[in-house]
C-alpha cells in the first residue's frame, strides 16, 4: 500500500524535492519562457516585448509556412507507413522465432538504434552521394555493359550519368526510414509477443490462409501495438532536424529546420517560439489520438 506523504514528511520531501526542483527549474521554466515569447514581439536586437499578440501564430498559417507544415506531416506520415510495411514482417518473424534466434534478431534490430544518429546519417551520405557507393557500383555496371555493347557493335551507350540520390525528398524519407525502423519494430514485437497464438492456429486450422489470418485475426488484435508503433515513429519523424538538414535539398526543409533558422539565423525568437509550440501541440494531439484508440480497444473487451 502506498504511504500517505504526511506520515513521513521528512523522507517524502527528501525523495520528491530534488527531481521536482530540477524538473521545474530546468524544464518547466525554459519551456514556459518559450511559450511566453510566442506571444511576444521583437523590439530591437535582443529585447522581446510580451504583448500578448497572436500574430506569430497567424504568421505560421501564411501559405509559405503552411506548406512546410503540410509537407512535414506528409514526410513523417510516409516514413511511418514505410516503416510499418517493412517492420511488420520483421516483428512477426521475431515473435515466432526460437528463443535463441529471437535474442539475436532483437539485438540486430536494436544495435543500429544505439549507434550515434549523426554517424548513421553520415553513413547514408557516403552511400547516396554522387561519388557514393551506389553511383560507383552503377557506373561500374554501366561501363561493363558499355563494353559488351561495343563488342557486339550495336553502338555506344554514352557516358554514365550518376543518379541524383542526395539532397532531395527521396533522401530525406530514406534517411528517416533508416533511422526510425527500430522504433516501429520493437513496439510491434512487444504487441505480437503478447498475442494468444492459439487464435492464430485456430484460424489456420479452420482453413484461412496466412495472409487472411494476418489481416483478419492478427492485425486487429495487435492494433494497440500498431498504434503505439505508429505514434512512436511519427512523433520523432515529424520533429526531425538532422536528417532533412543533411540529406535534404533546399525544398525539403521540415518544421524543425524552420524553427532552428528563426533562433540561430533570422533572430526572430517570437516566431520561432510559436512554431515550436505548434509542433508541441501536434505531438500532444498524436499522443492523445493513440491513447483514445487504445482505450476504445480495451473497453468492449
Amino acid at each position: 500500500m502506498e504511504q500517505h506523504w504526511k506520515s513521513a514528511k521528512g523522507l517524502f520531501s527528501a525523495v520528491l524535492g530534488p527531481p521536482l526542483f530540477w524538473l521545474v527549474l530546468f524544464f518547466m521554466i525554459p519551456m514556459g519562457i518559450v511559450w511566453l515569447y510566442s506571444f511576444g514581439e521583437n523590439r530591437g536586437l535582443t529585447e522581446i516585448a510580451l504583448t500578448g499578440t497572436f500574430s506569430n501564430y497567424l504568421r505560421a498559417f501564411d501559405p509559405l509556412y503552411l506548406k512546410i507544415f503540410v509537407k512535414s506531416v506528409g514526410i513523417a506520415g510516409l516514413t511511418t507507413l514505410i516503416c510499418l510495411v517493412i517492420g511488420f514482417p520483421v516483428a512477426l518473424a521475431i515473435t515466432f522465432a526460437p528463443a535463441k534466434a529471437k535474442t539475436w534478431l532483437l539485438l540486430a534490430v536494436m544495435l543500429p538504434f544505439w549507434t550515434n544518429l549523426l554517424i548513421r546519417t553520415y553513413a547514408l551520405i557516403a552511400v547516396l552521394r554522387t561519388e557514393g557507393y551506389v553511383n560507383q557500383s552503377l557506373e561500374w555496371l554501366w561501363n561493363g555493359l558499355d563494353a559488351v555493347v561495343g563488342v557486339l557493335g550495336v553502338g555506344a551507350l554514352g557516358p554514365f550519368q550518376p543518379l541524383e540520390l542526395l539532397h532531395n525528398n527521396f533522401a530525406v524519407v530514406l534517411g528517416l526510414v533508416y533511422v526510425h525502423l527500430p522504433f516501429m519494430v520493437l513496439p510491434l514485437y512487444s504487441a505480437l509477443d503478447r498475442l494468444d497464438t492459439s487464435l492464430i492456429e485456430a484460424s489456420l486450422d479452420l482453413g484461412a490462409g496466412h495472409l487472411r489470418t494476418l489481416l483478419v485475426i492478427v492485425a486487429p488484435l495487435a492494433l494497440p501495438g500498431i498504434a503505439s508503433g505508429v505514434v512512436i515513429t511519427f512523433i520523432p519523424a515529424l520533429g526531425s532536424y538532422l536528417t532533412p538538414d543533411l540529406l535534404g535539398g533546399p525544398d525539403s526543409q521540415m518544421i524543425a529546420n524552420i524553427i532552428e533558422r528563426q533562433f540561430k539565423r533570422a533572430n526572430d525568437w517570437p516566431f520561432g517560439a510559436a512554431l515550436s509550440f505548434l509542433l508541441m501541440y501536434m505531438t500532444f494531439i498524436a499522443i492523445a489520438l493513440q491513447a483514445m484508440l487504445s482505450r476504445r480497444r480495451r473497453e468492449p473487451a
Binding site: E2, H4, W5, L11, F12, L16, P18, P19, L20, L23, F26, I29, P30, I33, V34, I86, P89, V90, A93, F96, A97, A101, L107, M110, L111, P112, N116, L118, I119, R120, T121, Y122, A123, I125, A126, V127, E131, G132, L181, P182, L186, P187, Y189, E201, S228, I232, I235, P236, G239, Y241, L242, T243, I255, A256, I259, F263, F277, L279, T283, I287
Partner: protein
C-alpha cells in the same frame, strides 16, 4: 540424414519469403555502417575502390586535437549527466512508487513531458534559458564550462531513468520492506539493504540508457554549446557539412565499436534482451535520430 520436417504453421522464420525479407532489412540497416567501417581502412582519399589496407586515417583522427577534445568532452558530459540522472531518476521513481500525495498525477505527467517533447523544442528552450535566465559564464576552466550542456542532458535523461526504475519497483514485494522494519531496521537501512538491491538492475539499465542518450544527442547540444564546448556529434556535424573524409570514417568507427562494446557489457549485466525489449520500446525517446 533425415530431412528436417516441413516448417510448422507458425514457424515464420523458416519460410523463405520471410527469410528473404529479413535479409533485405538486414542489408538495409547494416550495409551503410559496414561500408563506412570498411572504407575507414581504405588507402585512398577520394576513390571508393579498394586501394589497400591502411591505418593512416586513424592516426590522423587520433592526432586531430580538436576531434579528441570533442570526444573527451562528450564522454565527460555523458558520465556526469548519467550520474546525476540516476540520482534524480531513482528519487522520482521512489516518490511515485512510495507515496500518495496531492498533485501526484500532475508530477507524473510533467515527468513524461521531456520524453515526448520534440528535441528541437527542448533545444530552443535551453537556448533561451541559458541566454536570458542563467547565462553560463564564458571561459570557465574545464569541465565547468560544460555545465550548461550537462544540465540540458540531465533534463531529458532523468525521466527515462525514472520510468525504468519505476517499472522495476512495481515488482517489489512490499512485505519484504515491512519485514525489515519489523525486524528493527531503520528507514535508511531498509532503503539501503532491501530496496536498493531490488532496484539495482534497473539502475544499470537506466544508466546505460542515460549514457547513450547523452552521447548520442546532437540537437539539444547544438543549441546549448558554445565555440569552446564542442562535443563529438557537433564536431562530426561540422566535418560532415564540409565534406566526406576518411578521418570521419575512422572516428565514427571508433564510436561504433565503443557502442557495441558498451551494449555487450550492458546485456551481460542485464540478461536477455527479449525480456526487456518491450520496456525499451515503450521508452524510446522521440529523438531526432532517433
Amino acid at each position: 540424414m533425415a530431412k528436417r520436417p516441413a516448417p510448422g504453421p507458425l514457424e515464420y522464420l523458416r519460410r523463405w519469403p520471410l527469410q528473404l525479407w529479413l535479409v533485405g532489412v538486414g542489408i538495409f540497416l547494416y550495409a551503410p555502417l559496414v561500408a563506412l567501417m570498411v572504407f575507414s581502412f581504405n588507402d585512398s582519399r577520394r576513390n571508393i575502390v579498394w586501394q589497400g589496407f591502411t591505418l593512416k586515417y586513424y592516426e590522423k583522427a587520433l592526432n586531430n586535437a580538436s576531434l579528441i577534445e570533442a570526444f573527451v568532452n562528450s564522454l565527460t558530459i555523458a558520465a556526469v549527466s548519467t550520474f546525476l540522472s540516476l540520482i534524480l531518476g531513482a528519487l522520482a521513481a521512489l516518490a511515485l512508487w512510495r507515496f500518495r500525495f496531492p498533485g501526484k498525477t500532475g508530477f507524473d505527467g510533467a515527468l513524461a513531458l521531456p520524453i515526448v517533447a520534440p528535441e528541437i523544442c527542448l533545444g530552443v528552450a535551453m537556448l533561451v534559458f541559458f541566454a536570458k535566465v542563467l547565462p553560463w559564464p564564458q571561459g570557465l576552466p574545464w569541465p565547468m564550462n560544460l555545465g550548461a550542456i550537462i544540465i540540458a542532458h540531465v533534463s531529458f535523461s532523468f525521466p527515462f531513468v525514472a520510468v525504468v526504475v519505476r517499472a522495476r519497483m512495481a515488482s517489489f514485494n512490499r512485505e519484504l520492506e515491512e519485514a525489515a522494519r519489523d525486524l528493527g531496521a531503520s528507514e535508511w537501512r531498509t532503503l539501503k539493504d532491501v530496496i536498493l538491491p531490488h532496484m539495482t538492475p534497473s539502475l544499470v539499465a537506466g544508466g546505460f540508457l542515460a549514457f547513450t542518450l547523452s552521447l548520442d544527442d546532437f540537437v539539444i547540444t547544438f543549441f546549448t554549446s558554445g565555440p569552446d564546448t564542442v562535443t563529438f556529434p557537433v564536431k562530426v556535424y561540422s566535418m560532415v557539412r564540409f565534406s566526406v573524409t576518411p578521418e570521419v570514417n575512422a572516428a565514427s568507427t571508433i564510436l561504433i565499436v565503443l557502442t557495441v562494446v558498451l551494449t555487450a557489457i550492458a546485456l551481460k549485466v542485464q540478461g536477455d534482451p527479449a525480456s526487456t525489449a518491450g520496456g525499451h520500446a515503450a521508452l524510446d525517446r522521440p529523438k531526432d535520430r532517433p
